[in-house]
């Protein structure tokens, strides 16, 4: 058996009590088998799942996070939290994309309490997908060492309060249909709003975290953060204007304002 070499990912699932948890139960009742990688956390509604939870799981070293809710229109609550789950997950995936983590590491699915077989199918498929991706930070296109990974996830975590605000404000699609949600989050308008509301903040956080390690030249920053020179210039300018960093002319380096 190739079990010795096989990558056995750590996966977290956060699922709603009424549908997906029930589907996972029925999956068990029906004895459908899936790989033993995932650990489930129960919440009452997929709308309770927070960006913070996902980022914490990744910061803790988990390789993927699954979120499961009720099918649209089946939410147990009149608040229809599963729409909020779509929005949160889309924002989360966009954040991951921006910090160089594969967005496939976060996945949202609807599973009803009657869909044991669907739960099993998703678990099997997702486990295989994550196995293929490899450990967090080491997938194609990631290539992050532990320290850099931690810095990036910390930058993302600092974004959480702002993301919450954006999600109740301009990142909330006007029409509550699954189609409208999918369209909105796949569209250009979303990217533009994301940049405006969250993208720059995320970038500045990353600059600050990079400088926490010590003064850096613009070239260092471009290399560490994987940015173009013009991006570095823009974010450094913003950070300086806010008074968060300063330019140490003597050494030709940027440093934290208080440092």
């Amino acid at each position: 058996m190739s079990g010795e070499l096989e990558f056995r990912p750590k996966m977290l699932g956060i699922v709603c009590n009424w549908c997906c948890y029930g589907g996972a139960d029925l999956c068990g009742v029906s004895r459908f088998q899936y790989p033993p990688f995932i650990r489930l956390v129960r919440v009452m509604c997929s709308g309770r799942v927070d960006l913070l939870h996902i980022l914490r799981a990744l910061s803790d070293g988990m390789d993927a996070v699954f979120v499961g809710g009720c099918h649209i229109n089946d939410c147990h609550y009149v608040t229809e939290g599963n729409y909020d789950a779509i929005a949160m997950i889309e924002v989360c995936r966009e954040i991951l994309r921006r910090i160089g983590i594969r967005p496939e590491r976060v996945r949202l699915e609807w599973v009803s309490a009657g869909e044991g077989i669907r739960f099993a199918a998703i678990m099997n498929e997702y486990a295989a997908q994550v196995q293929k991706l490899g450990p967090l930070g080491r997938a194609d296109g990631e290539g992050l060492d532990a320290a850099e990974l931690a810095r990036r996830l910390e930058a993302a975590t600092r974004l959480v309060p702002f993301a919450r605000l954006a999600l109740t404000g301009r990142l909330r699609p006007a029409v509550r249909t699954e189609e409208a949600y999918r369209r909105f989050f796949a569209g250009e308008e979303f990217r533009r709003l994301f940049d405006e509301l969250l993208g720059d903040r995320l970038a500045i956080s990353r600059v600050l975290l990079a400088l926490r390690e010590g003064p850096r030249t613009a070239a260092d920053l471009a290399r560490d953060l994987g940015w173009s020179a013009s991006d570095v210039a823009r974010h450094v300018r913003n950070s300086t204007r806010h008074g968060w960093i300063r330019f140490d002319a003597a050494r030709g380096c940027y440093a934290l304002a208080g440092g």
Partner: protein, 1022 residues
Amino acid sequence: MNKAPDADRLGDVMVVGGGISGIQAALDLATAGFKVYLVETSPTIGGKMAQLDKTFPTNDCSMCIESPKFIECDRHPNIEILTYTDVERVEGREGDFRITLLRKPRYVLADRCSGCTTCVSYCPVHVPDPFNQELSRNKAVHIYFAQAVPLVPYIDENCLYLKEGKCRICEAVCQKQAIDFDQTPERVEVRVGAVVLAPGYAPFDPGPRSDYGYGRYPNVVTSLDFERLLCATGPHEGEILRPSDGRHPHRIAWIHCVGSRQVTPGGHGYCSSVCCTYIQKQVILAKDHDGEAECTIFHNDIRSYGKDFERFYQRAEKLPGVRFVRSYVTVGRELPDSRNVTIRYAADDGVREEEFDLVVLGVGLAPPKDAPRLARLFGIELDEHGFCRTDPTNPMRTTRPGVLVSGAFQGPMDIPESVVTASGAGSLCGELLGRRRGWLARERVYPPERDVSAEEPRVGVYVCHCGANIGRVVDVPATVHYTLGLPDVVHAEESLFICSTEAAQKLATSIREKGLNRVVVAACTPRTHEPLFRDTLREAGINQYFFDMANIREHCSWVHSREKEAATRKAQDIIRMSVARARHLEPLQEFRLPVDQRALVVGGGLSGMTAALSIARQGHEVWLVEKEPELGGMARRLHRTLEGLDVQAYLRDVVGRVYAEPRLHVLVGAEILEASGYVGSFTTRVRAAGRVTEIRHGATVIAIGAGEYRPTEYLYGTDERVVTQLELEERLAAGDPRLDGVRSVVMIQCVGCRQEDRNYCARICCSHALKNALALRRRAPAPDVYVLFRDLRSYGFREDFYREAADRHVRFVRWEPDGRPSVEPATEEGRPVLRVTVPDPVLRRRLALDADLLVLSAAVVPAATSQEVSRLFKVATGPDGFFQEAHVKLRPVDFAADGVFLCGTAHYPKHIAEAVSQAYGAAGRAVTLLSQDTVVASGSVCRVEERDCVACGACIRACTYGAIEFHDTPRGRKARVNAVLCKGDGLCNTKCPTGAISLLHYTDEELLSQIDAAAAEPARAT
């Protein structure tokens, strides 16, 4: 069983039969304030449902959903369970029955027995196990099944000592001296005001008949045998092994209608109603167990007439390797070497004989064996089929006042109907005994809650084997050992079945003795068992929210059964997460909300009126709201039922009683403007006759009925010779002259349903067609009547009328969806006719029928207002647009929203008697609420930390319940949660930028601790 015997044994109601129907009746009555004696002849409550593996159409685990009710009964202060007990004599009358019971000796002293089962292991006598349909063996002393209530062994008649006066090994090995061979039958007299008979049914026994080979060929089993084979607690722990050689059967055949729809001697003429769907369930489960299995189902009409049954049928039919064959069959012979069994059936090319490894007989439901005895004892009549004779306008009424009937003793029915009729019988008892409600009832008393706020967490972990369900995969002892190394865990132990009554008692003791303040049970799913363990915590004197369940069965042992080591590690991880969470749990207080003891019934058809009357007769004020100017609903268009009831006379009587009932207020021509509130305290604004009334009520019953589909097919609306069954019924009742010249009538079934856009069976149309066909054939001169059908679904006793229609020469022609009938106007010998052509799959040619009248069996569709009512009262509708009950099986008239109930065709199409049953059921459920002064609301609601609130309003926008509002404080405007309106979804948590609001019991701290624990590399105990 440890309860001290009541000196005078005075009660309100005796429920005879401890199956699911009896259990539900007992629970409803006891909760509504009556003292109940629950009498069961077998050694435990549970009945047939306990023997089933899964329940259709959701495939819920049967025991898992039923067993929490056992414990609820056992713990209810107003229920006294008397198992292994028979009724011996009944005297007295309605309001004052004196019933003598005979308690059979168990030879085991319940109050001494610890349930250790040492006696069982030492008993030398092996006997066929009745619970496992005698497919496995047990001992002469044994516990009926692991979740039995009471969990006390009994010694059966096979005991060597009882038979031959020797052995007594059990007596010698019992350290508790709980064996008592001196026990003798004990007589008990109980006085009650009313009786609910719920003895259930007996599965049809194919043994006495030679034609099925049952009892002769070991590989012919009944469907109930097969349930046990499927079940994890069955003879082979859930492996399907055939009886002759213990091998996995590959080719399995099911035979429908065994003992049902048979007028030959030894059969029953009626349809048993449940077999079609339970067979589909068994096929699905058999395929779950073995994806390669070849399943063949020999069937007659497929009667998928219940809610979601049609989809369930499609699910079974679409599975690979599943073959539905429409044919009568005979069981052939047993092949000498393989012991396979052959089945002969009609195929396209003549009679075919095919070999199967296992044959499952879809046995019907027969009257309970002791039905004649019960009838004699209680002075009630039986019907021609041997079931209880019931009042045609009220299926819970027997021929004797004060003796009610629920469940399958009324006639074949499924679990939800057994539950509905139980609640209905409860409501009728309430009408009868209303004035004594509460006299004998006691409140459940819990010990005072220990204040643990100053204590460090002391976590106890209980790891369940669940028989072999967990223990066979997860190394439970190693897991217990591992658990002891986790932070704050001060105690861990294993248990065979932590959900058994006895284990739950031990758990309570253990919590007290070890001084625990947090409890983790690692077992099955919290969705079914959390309430039970929370209750145990209360009994142990600690806050019930100090509890967490680690699901190591559904989410571990059952889904990783081939990876035992990995499953064990995962179980340990899951427990570690639970322990981490438990350390952060806070004590929460559930709060009591006052109950406004008035009810609102929406919909003034027969269901709504019946429910309203029953609630009002139990002393509650009721508002009955109807949108039409007159009461009566759909019943106003009906004249006779299939069974012959004069619907208009009945309707006049009910309407008369409604207007005569002083506690009942009727608003007709009414429109509901607004509905708000929550369980116990609703407010609904209604406009009627130009006035707006604001109604305050504690419970709501939704009974808005359904509509008739208006066909667009078959020339309906363009040719006046095309009518619906309802229109025909009206013409028949009115003696419409247009019927006089009619020589030939064609009826087409399934118009507008059993198709893609309405994927359900409208249930009533087959019976409706039979009724009208019979009425036409009784006319002189009688027209020819043709019924073009897909599956004739005259379930239950309606089958008698199908036979009568055939006897009266109504012609039945079957068609299939790919060969729908077509209709065109034509002229035949100068007579203008409607020419209906249909491919006849039996005769395999196109059949042309000339009709003077074409009758369409138009589907029943959701009421036009259903979506609006759904929105107003915040209750869900299902995929077909009918209202969705809280649980298909066990909460059939409750909505998931507390305090709102459901009955009649708003739930699904149904016949009058069924709608009336449900109406009483909904009334019964509503009264269990209305008879309380307060209700308990969950403590898991949101809370604002005012210091952190910046009054951004994000939470308020997210909460469409309107549970959060701003209020002014000395430190400015702050959000505040109205806990009564908060439903605990926690959406607001994810919106608050400062983390000021949190959902208690699911706080970020609790969830993050779980996440951290999930990721933590565990320190493994070695």
